[in-house]
């Protein structure tokens, strides 16, 4: 069985969000890059867990990015996975990235394709669905649990106010979130081993992008907090009722 795990590089969760070039580009100077948490903690770790149960499973990692993504790919390989592929091109929009991954994955090369539920920078939540459509595969979004028995996957996914259980025969695409696996920290053996694992760089295929970012904006600053004394909670309720008109 072959599993493809999609990996994206995102700014660290505490990174300062600022823009440059007349607010057309993210100011990445001094920013720490991490593996998108949804890709790392859930998709990648679940794939590793499946391989621990069945060592014949092969895990490939893929990212669509320039060479500056190599450190985070090495980090992903330190957690697990057999081989990584980087499509050497800056991502343009979700569709462009999905088209690159779909061209790489081809028809029938992978039994299971994992993505994270979204990236924490562009919050698109789109790559998994687009990839599934391009490959004409079932897509289970926002998975919270993933079990495999032979070639049948049983997947729990979030629905409004609850959970749904789906059964699907492989191949399929799954976008992963909390619950699918528990976060891991790479150990020394993994880190050393990652150095010799293959990281292949491939050229991009021709694909269109359908959207482009014209500019960024920061939200207006908050006016500042209005503090209510702790012994007058009824004053808070009055403000919420009369001033904010919320209750």
């Amino acid at each position: 069985m072959n599993i493809l795990v999609c990996i994206s590089k995102t700014p660290d969760t505490t990174a300062k969000v600022a823009f440059k070039d007349k607010n057309t580009k993210f100011a990445s100077e001094g920013v720490q890059w991490i593996i998108n948490p949804y890709d790392e903690w859930y998709g990648l770790v679940r794939a590793i867990e499946l391989k621990e149960k069945d060592p014949s499973i092969i895990i490939h990692l893929i990212t669509v990015a320039g060479a500056d993504a190599d450190p985070i790919i090495r980090k992903a390989l330190a957690l697990g996975g057999d081989e990584a592929f980087r499509i050497n091109v800056d991502s343009q929009d979700s569709y462009y990235v999905a088209a690159q991954v779909a061209a790489f994955a081809g028809q029938g090369r992978y039994d299971l394709l994992f993505t994270g539920r979204e990236t924490i920078d562009y919050n698109g939540s789109s790559i998994g669905g687009m990839l599934a459509e391009l490959l004409q595969l079932p897509y289970i979004s926002l998975a919270t649990q993933f079990e495999l028995s032979g070639t049948i996957a049983t997947v729990k996914r979030e629905i409004e106010g609850g959970e749904e259980t789906d059964q699907v025969s492989l191949p399929c695409v799954v976008s992963c979130q909390k619950g699918v696996a528990e976060q891991r920290i790479p150990n020394m053996k993994g880190i050393m081993g990652a150095r010799t694992k293959p990281l292949k760089v491939l050229e991009a295929v021709a694909a269109e992008s359908m959207t482009s970012i014209v500019s960024f904006e920061l939200p207006p600053a908050k006016a500042g907090v209005k503090l209510v004394p702790a012994d007058q909670p009824e004053e808070l309720v009055r403000l919420l009722h009369e001033e904010a008109k919320l209750i």
Partner: protein, 321 residues
């Protein structure tokens, strides 16, 4: 070339966010000089012509029972046919669980550019530019859609529904049924709870509440306010509260009208999931807690003393009205 609006429903209820979307669609149609039309997949127990009051003149329905419980592959094929039959130039979804499952698939199928997580009507003065949330609510991006057909998924609670009156004509769309090899085995719903993503008021607790046995004061307040409940990540990790209540960068991102944070420090990753809330109230005993910087109202005090008093005051207010 109408604007086509996806009406999301489950268990015989139209989702509240769909009313917002109908109004958004009506506003967009006006901007483009075209008509706004709804589309509903599957059967529904009531006549929906009254939804015309949000400004839609026509609602297409594909009354095939199996569509009430179908996966994204089937729904996408059906919607793709519907877009072709109606000649829609823009297709609208709510950026909720359903929208996240279908909109990207439809985008790839129709080669229609998608903006997910939109927060405002497009600016059509120079092309078609939609503002969306990025960096987990810390910024906005203005995204230009270059394709002929466009897809927008609107964040819940970012557009005020507006009733303009009128009724909609119901039209049956006849499409050939499609099948999939995904089977929905079961669905479980916490009954009687307000889904977090739809809630107008959310009361949320953090590690400051010390343990699951202390959640009563928070639940009482939530009940009095008709609010949904949420929690910080360590609270869900420690299994004090169910995982689906976890909000933040790695949990659910929400944008209620009112978010009340009790005993939550306001770490940047927590704020990322709640900073789009219209009004934020923070109750924390530490005056230096970072959450106060993101708050509109605050009380510096012990939650165990303050929260029951707030609940009492809400009760009093309600009985006075």
């Amino acid at each position: 070339m109408p604007v086509l609006i996806y009406i999301d429903h489950a268990d015989g209820h139209i989702k509240k966010s769909s009313y917002e979307l109908l109004s958004y669609g009506a506003g967009l149609a006006e901007l483009l000089g075209t008509s706004a039309e709804g589309i509903i997949l599957g059967t529904f127990p009531e006549d929906l012509s009254a939804l015309g009051k949000y400004g839609v003149r026509k609602i297409h329905q594909v009354s095939q029972g199996h569509l009430n419980e179908s996966d994204s592959q089937v729904l996408t094929q059906v919607l793709s046919e519907a877009v072709k039959q109606t000649g829609a130039q823009v297709m609208l979804f709510t950026n909720n669980i359903t929208g996240k499952a279908i909109a990207p698939r439809l985008s790839a199928r129709l080669k229609a550019g998608l903006v997910s997580g939109a927060v405002a009507l497009p600016d059509i003065s120079d092309g078609f530019v939609v503002r969306k949330n990025v960096f987990s609510g810390k910024a906005f991006a203005n995204v230009k859609v270059q394709t002929e057909i466009k897809i927008i998924s609107l964040n819940p609670n970012s557009f005020q529904p507006k009733e303009v009156g009128g009724t909609a004509e119901m039209v049956e769309l006849f499409l050939s049924p499609v099948s999939s090899n995904l089977k929905i085995v079961s669905t479980e719903k916490a009954s009687g709870e307000i889904p977090l993503s739809e809630a107008e008021i959310v009361v949320s607790g953090g590690r400051g509440l010390k343990g699951p046995e202390n959640w009563g004061i928070l639940l009482d307040l939530a009940k009095e306010l008709g609010a949904a409940t949420a929690c910080s990540r360590p609270v869900a990790d420690a299994h004090w509260r169910p995982h689906h209540e976890h909000v933040g960068q790695t949990g659910l991102a929400i944008a209620p009208n009112l978010y009340i944070a009790i005993g939550i420090s306001g770490a940047i990753q927590h704020l990322a999931g709640v900073n789009r809330s219209k009004t934020i109230v923070v109750i924390n005993k530490d005056p230096e807690a970072p959450f106060f910087k993101a708050a509109d109202y605050g009380i510096v005090g012990d939650a165990f003393e303050v929260v029951p008093k707030i609940t009492e005051a809400v009760k009093k207010l309600k009985s006075a009205h």
